[in-house]
Symmetry: C2
Amino acid sequence: MKDKVEIGLMGLGVVGVGVENALREKVEDFAKQVGAPLVVKRILVRDPSKKRACQVQPHLLTTNPQHIFDDPGIDIVVEVIGGESPAYDYIKEALSRGKHVVTANKEVIAKHGFELLSLAAEHNVALLYEASAGGGIPLISPLRHDLLANKVSAIHAIINGTTNYILTKMALEDVDFTAALREAQELGYAEADPASDVEGIDAAYKLAILAALAFQTQVLPGDVYHEGISRLAARDFCYAKELGYTVKLLAIAKREDNTFQVRVHPTFIPDDLLLAKVNGVFNAVQIDGDLTGRILFYGQGAGALPTSSAILADVVRLAQNMSQGSSPMPRVQMDQTMAAKPISEIETRYYLRMTVADRPGVLAQITRVLGELLISISSVIQKEVDERAQSAEIVIMTHPARERAMQQAVSEMGKLEAVREISNLVRVED
Amino acid sequence: MKDKVEIGLMGLGVVGVGVENALREKVEDFAKQVGAPLVVKRILVRDPSKKRACQVQPHLLTTNPQHIFDDPGIDIVVEVIGGESPAYDYIKEALSRGKHVVTANKEVIAKHGFELLSLAAEHNVALLYEASAGGGIPLISPLRHDLLANKVSAIHAIINGTTNYILTKMALEDVDFTAALREAQELGYAEADPASDVEGIDAAYKLAILAALAFQTQVLPGDVYHEGISRLAARDFCYAKELGYTVKLLAIAKREDNTFQVRVHPTFIPDDLLLAKVNGVFNAVQIDGDLTGRILFYGQGAGALPTSSAILADVVRLAQNMSQGSSPMPRVQMDQTMAAKPISEIETRYYLRMTVADRPGVLAQITRVLGELLISISSVIQKEVDERAQSAEIVIMTHPARERAMQQAVSEMGKLEAVREISNLVRVED
């Protein structure tokens, strides 16, 4: 039994400060839960002179990561630097030196999790990453432990708060994408360069992490098809509402025999789904298990405090094991041999909006293209007519169709003389 | 490292059959996750000749619990008998004999959890009870592990599927309580004697279990105030809707300095709360943590498969620890000294519906009673007038008031000559 558990903290940004503050303010709680105090021994920073919202003793700060790796007293390294480099190298080094690692780094875990987990096992230490997806919502631990008896068939997740904030604004307040994004930036919900959020890259990292655990197989960010929300227009939200759907940026993972599909894209989901009611910066992850049926976890997916909650849960878990002299956590199983299915092979329903010439026979031409590709139509709306431009807007909802066929249909319809514009193609989940 | 983990199953009802089936059907999955096969060695039943929906080998069945206690090979006892007696004695005996226990028994855990957890610690074994609250929704484990860094300030839970089914019917299909209950019984969602569900007793057990973990203190079923749903009338649902609320049987736990309040009763909650969208037999538990902020867990709170999922998660967790030769789980901390606050001392908002004589000055009399007890009114609706009976219906929403004062007000208003009936008093949570 150790008389204290010493921590090396790498990074003292917003999340790092949150972790440091909580460890200091809750020192007695944690000591009671662990059976020994948790002590931050060293903190890696880039600039020790920078002003920070915490009361760190200056002698703890270092700019040299070796001060953490070389310290035999440090049992747990908490990495909250973010980004791939140098965090990836630091995590690798810490594990190799026999230190447990707790990280919030979605990019490193999504890209290198498989390798790093093997490295951790090799050195008989643990790599925990609850904070890498879903912020303060317990997700990794439920998938690793609580849902272990289940075969997970599907995950549907709103896993990026920035885009959900923008989509909520667009849906409820009828503002356009640019205005909603600007507001999100002003409120600090979106970054100056919003590409990673808006293009679905952030969500793709998180989905890769969750799908790997759910399907117990390696899932790489490159396996995840992703498409952003910037093409969505106010009229898409109007049609969605009329049809009984809500528009969300969904991260979807599905298991199918020996393959899986992973994709992030704007999605029409039925209004009466609980997921459709998840608004603003909140995240929610819906999981279908063969025993549990459908379950859903909801909460704040980002922010210093929620992320600290996840990091500290991992730290306390490790420290409890350590202070009781037990062996490391059960290994993460990721040895199923499943292949990712390319997006062209998936089957789903589609919403298609287009502008066409307002004259007889146009709808027949369009439906012929769809019919020849075996895409069957579930409903058609044609109502917006622009008399001056002599054009009309057509919205088609399809039955389930193959993505490859749908893309070919879009391409062929685009060549029809009567089709002025294919305005949007959005996938539908029921 | 053990070459197999042997299980003694006590009870082979609906849940027991679910557990046995899953263990058999998923034997290879579990063996891989644990590192050793999980084997059901003995099954305690009352009647070995009874037909059951599983393929148990008859020689595993026994009617003598000692066959399980006395078997040194059995590491884990799974108790799915239900009810207080004899399950409580069996769990105690199993722990005393140095066996880990996994149970789905809310009544035993709510009433005796504190004692049983101490007994488990004394004998260096674990008592796990994920299935005792919320069925397949991970709740116990998140509270024990994932949310450990948080100070939980409140739990608001829909934790009884039967009553949520009935309330959903009443709200959406405008049927009355008796008809909704009958339908729930026909569908197997409610028992022939529905008292435990309908009166909030089942929810009170589960709330005691969750609150004890959230506040890390002992909470007994007797601490939980409970009130059933049978007094709710169709008109209460109409007024709720008009006022922007949904009616739910809520299990509420709140921390206040050194006291806590725990109560189960019909509650008006704002329509826009995610909890208000939880319909049918589904459960949801909303937890407010100081770091996470608000999170919510949603899923099926009952049924053989969801309950099996929770039981098996506990079994696999123990078996993993065992097969890796590590020490038992971290102890559950319940040593805060907090007292339960009696219901008379709580402060909340109220919805009050009454029938009064339709003549001038009556509202003044009523508001005088409320005013004298320092209960301030937030809104009044008076619209239903029965001309023949010369009576009117008044609905009052109050600002936060003390329960004791409110009960006194109800009693005094009931004595007013002009008040024909106090039809309902429902607490409001915002």
